[in-house]
């Protein structure tokens, strides 16, 4: 029951400009205060239920994000926060940017905006909760992401 109402989140800053990150932290602080529902920002992936990713993926941090995803126990939900995490955003053409987070790990919900407001992020977490509940009922497991994929060029 507690899983359905009070998920623990891990916040992963992937390639973000900090704009979305400070809004994610603002969700947890007094004005928006998600912590009153028991939503905790936890440091280690091994205790987390929801992975909140901000920013796009680049060639250096692609393995970091895959590693963190693999370490989260099932059932797990990935929430992409912001335009960059969803599609690559304003940076999608940059030479070092692979694209949105869904290029490397499966994403369950997206929060658009540059930057999204804290209300929108909380909405995203609430949407992620029902997905988490379904995954738990159906015993759906996230598949292990291989560290070496086609997106990493041979010279990287």
């Amino acid at each position: 029951m507690s899983l359905a109402k009070s998920p623990w989140i891990i916040h992963v800053n992937c390639n973000s400009c900090n704009g979305c990150d400070i809004e994610v932290v603002a969700c947890l602080t007094p004005l928006y205060d998600a912590e009153r529902f028991g939503v905790l920002n936890i440091g280690t992936p091994k205790q987390a239920d929801i992975m909140v990713v901000t920013g796009s993926v680049n060639y250096k941090n692609v393995n970091v994000i895959k590693n963190i995803y693999n370490q989260i126990p099932d059932p797990k939900v990935v929430l992409a926060v912001g335009a960059c995490a969803s599609t690559g955003g304003i940076f999608h053409n940059c030479y070092n940017v692979i694209g949105g987070v869904d290029q490397v790990i499966p994403v369950d919900a997206y929060v658009p905006g540059c930057c999204p407001r804290p209300e929108a992020i909380l909405d995203g977490v609430v949407a992620a909760l029902s997905i988490l509940e379904n995954k738990k009922k159906g015993n759906i497991k996230g598949k292990e992401v291989k560290l070496k994929g086609k997106e990493v060029p041979s010279n990287a």
Partner: protein
């Protein structure tokens, strides 16, 4: 016998991915090796595909925390290429939004810093007060974090009478609250035990290491680009550089708290002197030549170099951000510090990795 401990890229204290390889002997750090590149997007190359007006929005997204000042510095550099006369009202609005940016950035840092040494209620207190600043910024510019107020030739939105009332009300209500948190940061016994004497840099060392911003001023160097650079408007507003003599984490905290008062004073003075008139001049043609612009960001001095070649795209854009200047000082401060104090010392330069790596 030394052990190497990886610190980051994913770490509970760090809001951003930076990796430090810490060499420790028992509990004391003897060496640190940073590894960067986790947030590199390649924005300076990106100007090939965007024209000089669109680049304003790219520059604002170099960093989400000091975004307004990135945009303002870039637009002022491009205006130098055009030799454009900017309406005075636009300059004042830029100062007001820039100082709002500094207020929210410093309150954010104070909160994260308090979290870094384990004072969670103080963290929440700072972030609660920060929301007041963000509310006003949202009312003025339309967004909480990325303000997009500055454009080449002026500003994109005017201040209304309502905005000015809101600003003054925010200044009045924020000042006593800052006094409250100042009491805790400056006088609290537990906080002082963690901060005083930690990672001390002498005045000479801080200058020679090439540090910038509160890291430099926390060691007694009264150097602030707002006072020295070619943007005169701050002199008219009665700006005074905040300095602390201590040179340790405590001194750098004191500088940032003093700058909060200074920002409030600047906003009040700018409002009282706010001239009437246009907010932007139309700028036509393509930029040629080269220009350098320096402004003081919350984290220190930022330098923009732009070079135009008569086409709609700039030929070169180079940004030197304050954190890039401060990271070498981190490597000087960390040896001799206990492992438990490493998060505090790393936070004390107010690292902004997405600025540094772009």
């Amino acid at each position: 016998m030394t052990t190497v401990i990886p610190f980051g890229p994913q770490h509970p204290v760090l809001p951003e991915p930076v990796s430090l390889k810490l060499e420790i002997d028992n509990d004391v750090v003897v060496g640190a090796l940073p590894s960067l590149g986790y947030v590199h997007r390649g924005l300076e190359k990106f100007i090939d595909t965007k024209d000089y007006n669109q680049t304003t929005y790219i520059c604002e997204r170099i960093c989400g925390i000091c975004s307004a000042l990135h945009g303002i510095t870039y637009t002022k550099a491009v205006e130098k290429l055009f030799d454009a006369e900017i309406p005075e009202r636009a300059e004042y609005i830029r100062v007001i939004v820039g100082e709002l940016n500094r207020l929210h950035s410093h309150l954010l840092w104070l909160g994260l810093f308090a979290d870094g040494f384990g004072f969670e209620s103080l963290f929440y207190e700072c972030w609660k007060y920060r929301e007041e600043v963000l509310d006003v910024a949202e009312r003025i510019t339309g967004n909480r974090v990325i303000h997009s107020i500055s454009k080449v030739g002026g500003v994109s939105r005017d201040l209304t009478k309502e905005n000015i009332d809101m600003l003054l009300k925010m200044c009045d209500s924020l000042e006593p609250k800052i006094k409250d948190i100042e009491k805790v940061f400056v006088n609290n016994y537990t906080v002082k035990q963690r901060l005083v004497g930690l990672a001390t840099m002498s005045k000479q060392l801080a200058y020679e290491a090439g540090t910038a911003g509160p890291t430099l001023r926390g060691s007694g160097n009264a150097i602030d680009v707002r006072e020295t650079a070619d943007w005169d408007i701050y002199k008219d507003l009665g700006f005074k550089t905040a300095v602390a003599k201590e040179g340790d984490c405590y001194g750098r905290t004191k500088v940032r708290i003093d700058e909060l008062y200074e920002s409030i004073k600047l906003i009040r003075n700018a409002i009282s002197k706010l001239p009437n008139g246009d907010i932007a001049t139309p700028i036509k043609g393509f930029p040629t030549g080269e220009a350098i612009m320096r402004t003081e960001q919350p984290r220190g001095e930022v330098v923009y170099y732009v070079k135009g070649n008569g086409t709609k795209n700039l030929e070169r854009l180079k940004v030197r951000t304050p954190t890039f200047a401060n990271i070498p000082s981190l490597l000087l401060m960390l040896p001799g510090v206990r492992l438990a104090d490493v998060p505090i010392v790393v936070l004390t330069i107010d690292p902004c990795i997405s600025c540094t790596e772009r």
